[in-house]
């Protein structure tokens, strides 16, 4: 008589269902954002080095391939933001008597604060 049959998962398990694929994309956002942090670190370093080095770096940073990377990075960053805000009610439960405060009450304010804050920063660079 044989032992129960084991069925180990495949390496491409996350390609088999949309939900798993979305999860893996969210996880991969950490790698993309990390790469952006490297670029940002260099940005800060070049800014500390003076006008010449900083301008040279901007030429590189604003080249076509880098713009493409930043567009991709923005996509992944937004995926992180959206999935992060949406999962807040899972970790934080606030009770009012026998009822939970509905999750949406914790999620919507975060979007509002995020959009307003980002808008203010963008407006600042638009104006000054």
């Amino acid at each position: 008589m044989n032992e129960p049959l084991k069925r180990p998962p495949s390496l491409l398990w996350w390609t088999k269902r949309g939900a798993y694929f979305q999860f893996m994309m969210r996880e991969i956002s950490s790698i993309v954002i990390f790469v952006y942090l490297v670029l940002f670190l260099v940005f800060l370093h070049k800014l500390s080095k003076g006008r010449v080095e900083y301008n040279a770096y901007l030429d590189f940073l604003w080249s076509r391939p880098m713009i493409a990377f930043h567009l991709v990075a923005l996509g992944f960053a937004l995926l992180h933001t959206i999935t992060w805000f949406n999962s807040t009610p899972k970790a934080m439960v606030i009770w009012r008597g026998e009822e939970k405060v509905p999750g949406i009450a914790m999620v919507v304010p975060q979007y509002v604060i995020w959009l307003i804050g980002s808008g203010v920063v963008f407006w600042f660079f638009l104006r000054h």
Binding site: L5, P9, A19, Y20, K90, A91, W95
Partner: protein, 246 residues
């Protein structure tokens, strides 16, 4: 309608035969009011008595008939043929568990984890029956009620990729029921139960994929139970440095 059928490709494996599993196709009358369980019952009664699967209540409260339906863990009694039409439908045993026979999986791993968190009320001092019941307000009940709805169907564990990759991970079902007892005002065992749940193979392997909560037929939301447990564990961790103890 009477002549319409729906095809099922069903996973077959018998331990006495061994070898690689196979898929056998069965054609079942397409009845719009049938569940997958009724279709499998028709197969077993009228076509192939050797097909083996677990079932009991037929109404989504016993947790026996969990299986993979087109790659998603579902209760067979809770899956309607009209939602599967036109098919063909792939039916397999629950993922992440070893197979005993056909659609029946071995649940030893779950039972071991379940026992380890002591899923029952434990008091420091038991109250004698003559002193009456343990009283609980509706608000106290509300805190753990959702997590108490688990029927041990194992759909969550089958949906969890971490459960499939990490053989020591306790899994969403065990952690949700652990949290159910931790939040029950009648229980006084929370610290010791947390010692098990807050080990590395407890809550910390969870990556918040969230599929466990998506597939749960009883809306237990084990993902929420685990995230809340992580917050609790973090509070305990930092307070223990402040000498407040867990």
């Amino acid at each position: 309608m009477a002549s319409e059928t729906i095809k099922f490709e069903v996973f077959r494996w018998h331990p006495e035969k061994g070898g690689e599993p196979t898929f056998q196709t069965y054609e079942v009358p397409y009845r719009t009011d049938w569940s997958l369980l009724e279709a499998l019952t028709q197969v077993k009664n009228d076509q192939d008595g050797t097909l083996t699967f677990r079932w009991s209540c037929r109404m989504g409260v016993c947790g026996s008939c969990g299986m993979m339906v087109n790659g998603v863990p579902r209760l067979a009694c809770g899956t309607q043929l009209k939602d599967l039409y036109p098919g063909p439908v792939r039916v397999e045993p629950l993922a992440n568990f070893s197979v005993e026979r056909d659609l029946v999986v071995n649940l030893d791993r779950f039972i071991k984890g379940f026992t380890s968190i002591k899923p029952y009320i434990i008091r420091k001092q038991e109250k004698p029956v003559s002193e009456g019941e343990y009283l609980q307000t509706p608000a106290q009940l509300a805190k753990y009620k959702q997590f108490s709805m688990c029927i041990n169907c194992m759909c969550c564990n089958a949906a969890c990729p971490v459960y499939g990759h990490e053989e020591n991970f306790l899994g969403p079902a065990v952690l949700a029921v652990g949290q159910r007892y931790n939040l029950d005002s009648r229980d006084e065992y929370a610290k010791e139960r947390r010692d098990v749940m807050f080990e590395h193979d407890g809550i910390w392997e969870c990556e918040l994929v969230g599929e466990c909560s998506q597939v749960c037929p009883k809306h237990v939301d084990p993902a929420a139970a685990i995230q809340q447990a992580k917050v609790q564990a973090t509070k305990d961790f930092f307070f223990s440095f402040l000498g407040a103890g867990a």
